[in-house]
């Protein structure tokens, strides 16, 4: 070793490591820049909504009282769906949403931690007692989708899911109060 200029040797090793580290840095930057780029141009964020609500009195609150749940079209045309996740069901159990329109989904729970996703879409959020979870999205394809609870909420957790009907524009018809319910099939 000594006859081969160990200092040079060691420096070369560190040089290759630095070169590699530089490459790693470039790749890390590439993954991050994808995130930043889509956040800036397409407004992509993880669902975040630090909006507090008392889980103990959720059923007394106006917004998440039983008959306000489901999908509503407001006067300005905005679509909001309100769902309660409770042990061990979603209320309502079937949700109608329009295809290709911006939808705001709002969830809360009166009891324990739940979570949900809608299969084949990017709708995914935790439902934490004390907060209103909110997802803004657009459903790109019509059809019936599954909305299961994906966080352990007790022994009955496995049977907790709802159906999401993504309705084409023509079939998505609000009633006189602006509410839209699932089509009976």
């Amino acid at each position: 070793m000594t006859e081969l200029h160990p200092e040079m040797h060691e420096r070369r090793i560190l040089g290759t490591e630095l070169l590699w580290a530089f490459g790693v840095g470039v790749l890390v930057a590439a993954t991050l820049s994808m995130i930043v780029f889509t956040a800036l141009t397409m407004n992509i964020n993880p669902p975040s909504n630090v909006e507090r609500i008392d889980p103990k009195a959720l059923h007394l609150s106006g917004e998440f009282a039983e008959h306000n749940l489901g999908t509503t079209v407001a006067a300005d045309g905005s679509v909001t769906t309100r769902v309660v996740a409770t042990q061990f069901m979603f209320v309502p159990r079937c949700i109608a949403v329009p295809q290709g329109r911006r939808v705001t989904l709002r969830f809360s729970t009166p009891d324990v931690i739940h979570g949900l996703l809608i299969t084949g879409t990017n709708v995914n959020t935790m439902v934490v007692p004390g907060y209103v979870a909110q997802v803004h999205t657009e459903f790109t394809r019509s059809g019936d989708l599954l909305m299961p609870c994906h966080e352990y909420c007790g022994i009955g957790h496995s049977e907790m899911w709802a159906t999401v009907q993504v309705l084409p524009e023509g079939e998505f018809k609000p009633d006189s109060e602006g509410k839209v319910s699932c089509a009976q099939r």
Partner: protein, 276 residues
């Protein structure tokens, strides 16, 4: 470790300290600038949200996404039950006195529900060993007309909160009679399955997930073992038809509506089991 050793090369150490600190802090600060300032402000601009609001939303000081307007609330409505499980209510339950409850029971409840909570009249629920929270919830609901019954509504309205808690504590303290496994084994497999596993195909959770002691379900869920058969059948039917609706968020209305009459009868038989 904090004291540098004499023979360690400090000359070499200085750049390590400086550059490590600079690099790590640069990464964190770039994260702060991007995540808390640049991204929310740009997003807010496209959604018509001012920069201050967007930054507050990114920090979680204001609710909502920096990229979307917040929806409006709907007007309040009539809830199906007025009971809330606040620490104060749980305190009332915890401070209840079974002895005062015994006196009230002897005065009012005994005629139908029995001294020890074993019903003496048909279609009346057994209350022995029932969860105190469940009894409290039902009496409270009778008082607010969330649930109605020719006799019970009037009786409950004559009771105060603390008295309700006392009665609940008294009956909750009566000995439970655990279901007799031999009797349970006689139940049809389909009914046992419904109790233990629910029915995934019909989206029915297992009854045991809420109605067993210590199941971890809703606070107000009653314990069903040894319940009166006719009472259970009547209640499940009323839930199914929507005649009874003091179950918060329709948890029982939804499930009962999916049960067949045969299953309702079978479940009522199952839960009566062990009651000799």
């Amino acid at each position: 470790m904090s004291e540098p050793r004499i023979s360690e090369p400090h000359v070499l150490d200085q750049p390590w300290r400086v550059w490590a600190t600079v690099t790590v802090l640069a990464i964190v600060i770039s994260g702060v600038i991007l995540g808390v300032v640049i991204i929310p402000v740009v997003q807010g601009r496209s959604a018509g949200i001012d920069a201050y609001t967007a930054i507050c939303r990114a920090l979680g000081i204001l609710p909502g996404s920096p990229a979307e307007p917040q929806p409006f609330d709907r007007t309040p409505s009539t809830p199906v039950s007025q009971v809330t499980w606040t620490p104060e209510v749980l305190q009332i339950l915890a401070r209840a006195d079974p002895e005062r409850g015994r006196a009230k029971v002897a005065e009012v409840c005994v005629a139908c529900h029995g001294e020890q909570g074993v019903a003496v009249v048909p279609e009346v629920p057994n209350l022995a060993g029932q969860s105190g929270a469940a009894i409290y919830k039902q009496l409270h609901d009778y008082r607010t007309d969330s649930r109605t019954h020719p006799q019970m509504s009037a009786i409950a309205k004559a009771l105060e909160d603390a008295q309700i808690a006392d009665v609940a504590a008294y009956y909750a303290g009566q000995p439970k009679r655990n279901p007799d496994p031999a009797t349970l084994a006689e139940s049809p497999a389909a009914i046992v399955r419904l109790v233990e596993l629910g029915d995934p195909a019909r989206n029915i959770p297992p009854c045991a997930a809420c109605h067993r002691p210590g199941a971890g379900g809703p606070i107000e869920a009653p314990i069903l073992s040894e319940q009166d058969r006719d009472y259970l059948i009547a209640q499940l039917k009323m839930y199914a038809s929507g005649e009874r609706r003091n179950d918060v968020y329709g948890r029982m209305r939804t499930i009962a509506a999916r049960l067949t009459p045969a299953e309702i009868a079978g479940l009522a038989r199952y839960y009566r089991a062990g009651f000799k």
